[in-house]
Symmetry: C2
């Protein structure tokens, strides 16, 4: 299948017996042009259904008005929300967006960056893959002076702006909530230890324990690989502990959902036998039985702030110096934890 022909300025020019530059000027509403010719041209352009070739234009002005976005996976509701916010606010300012997923691999993350850079995007918004533990590709971007920022899954050693949630604060709130509602032995089920959010949420967890004068018990921290199998293995380990926790804070909702899935048929009652809380507020967490106490992260808002800051930098409305934007989270107490 071959693509049909697209009308060009040259063709309009020939039809009207004027030069291409005149067409160009008319179409961008240049003031130094006779109103009549301008009118004739604009009408003819509409009649011929002219649509500018953005490729040519971008090549000429060396700006594409396009931003690149890289997320670990698009099917996650949280990242989909971020993308939605990014797109809406990019469009509002006349920018398009190219989205790529890394599928949580470093290799694809690098490949995506290459593609987007080759496509001459004006800037990049990146959320790192779970696997990313080397940062050469980002430092390379930095050295080549390609504007970018990191959001949600960030690294603190790259000197660029980043947008994150107050993970520590959220984790502190939810742990405190568990303690306030009567839990004495609160467990933290974490993701892989080198993940930024694993660390931050653990800090919040420890902070709350400290505030309640509780000495952290290494028995009460579990590490999941974040697969369903891994989560379910941990569910069993907890169920068969000689001394079970009476409250469990999971780093992300899906862990909590998997725990519930294993515990329900075993007759473990939530929140009476164990209280349970998550983080992220997945759509499923609201409808599960009992509804899961969790921490809401406004993804759309994060996308909006991230893209707005990057565009402000690109357009000189914000300083090039890296800043850190921190969004607050909201505790959503539901029935999987006891009432105050």
């Amino acid at each position: 299948m071959k693509k049909g022909h697209q009308v060009t300025m040259k063709e309009i020019a020939k039809k009207l017996g004027v030069s291409v530059s005149t067409i160009s000027r008319a179409l961008k509403d240049s003031p130094e042009l006779h109103p009549d010719t301008k009118k004739r041209i604009v009408e003819m352009a509409k009649e011929m259904n002219y649509q500018p070739n953005l490729l040519a234009q971008s090549l000429r002005i060396s700006r594409t008005n396009t931003l690149g976005v890289i997320v670990p996976e698009i099917t996650s509701h949280f990242f989909a929300s971020c993308i939605s916010g990014i797109q809406d606010y990019a469009n509002k300012r006349g920018y398009n967006v190219m989205i790529c997923q890394s599928n949580e691999t470093l290799e694809l993350e690098k490949a995506n960056i290459r593609t987007l850079v080759s496509s001459q995007v004006d800037g990049l918004l990146i959320s790192l893959s779970r696997e990313t533990n080397k940062y050469d590709h980002l430092l390379d971007l930095y050295n080549r002076e390609i504007p970018f920022l990191l959001f949600d899954r960030v690294n603190e050693d790259i000197p660029v702006s980043r947008v994150t949630f107050n993970d520590e604060g959220g984790a502190y709130q939810v742990t405190k909530h568990l303690l306030e509602t009567g839990c004495k032995r609160v467990m933290y089920v974490s993701g892989p230890e080198d993940l930024y959010i694993s660390k931050k949420r653990k800090e919040g967890y420890l902070h709350a324990l400290a505030e309640f004068g509780i000495t952290p018990d290494p028995e009460l921290v579990k590490i999941s690989d974040l697969t369903s199998e891994g989560n379910m293995k941990i569910a069993n380990e907890i169920a068969f502990m000689k001394q079970r926790p009476d409250g469990v804070f999971c780093m992300i909702d899906p862990i909590a959902l998997d725990l519930m899935f294993v515990w329900k048929p075993m007759g473990i009652k939530i929140p009476d036998d164990m209280a349970l809380a998550g983080f992220t507020n997945n759509p499923a967490s609201a409808v599960i039985e009992p509804p899961l106490t969790t921490v809401a992260q406004p993804g759309y808002e994060m996308g909006k702030l991230a893209v707005t800051h990057l565009l402000d930098q690109l357009e000189g409305q914000a300083s090039d110096d890296p800043i850190s934007i921190v969004l607050e989270t909201t505790l959503l107490p539901r029935q999987s934890t006891k009432a105050l």
Copy 2:
């Protein structure tokens, strides 16, 4: 913030004292080139961290190797899955993807098409907005011979390929399941009547009724505007009907979830008082209490098939004649309907 300089072929050429065309040839591994020069060039390109300018290349060869995708909303798990399938299989064949959302409006759908066409995408994959009831913009694409196809939310009057689910079959299966498990009065809660899927799923519903010798009762068809408020209004109407249905088939899962939400505090037991089934298999449907019987639609698979067919057409491996690809759905009986 200004973007740093990108290395061009010209610069490599100057450094090596050869012509630009030689660089071009070396970098695309042309056979008619001395191995030594080729090697020198490739090495130098790597050393200088050269990355091709896709814009210039695309302008020259008048092909971008980029596809445009338009979906109603990216935060829907189903469409996110489609996008994921499209991206994976487009990338496999060396294509990039630009994604846009119409936010369910005709206006944005048109704007997205304009942008993508201006960006010179090689083809488009479109899923129509809920609002789209005029098709000039699509016919225009067709007349301008810009390759595109429709998926999931399609219209049958546009002479292009389309990829859909066997909606009728899925609806037939689920209605039959309700009837087989003992329901006598099965209701269909539809979306707006001009939606393709509203019609198709109603046909399946009616087909199953007919097979069981049941005369359709107009009382037993409700139309929702698909907002949560609309769904909840219908939930109340049903609850207060003089003669309630004993089984309800909802056009999409979210309707069923809203019905449950309203009914649960009213003490209506599912499936004993009323059996309930949906369509789409949203993630939440599996974890709600009771788990919702529904029809699974493999979105990833749909994306994969759609993009593969379009690329086959683009590259001449498939005929340009429009075809209709129909994917089968799978009934997932769960506890919201009675067991067989």
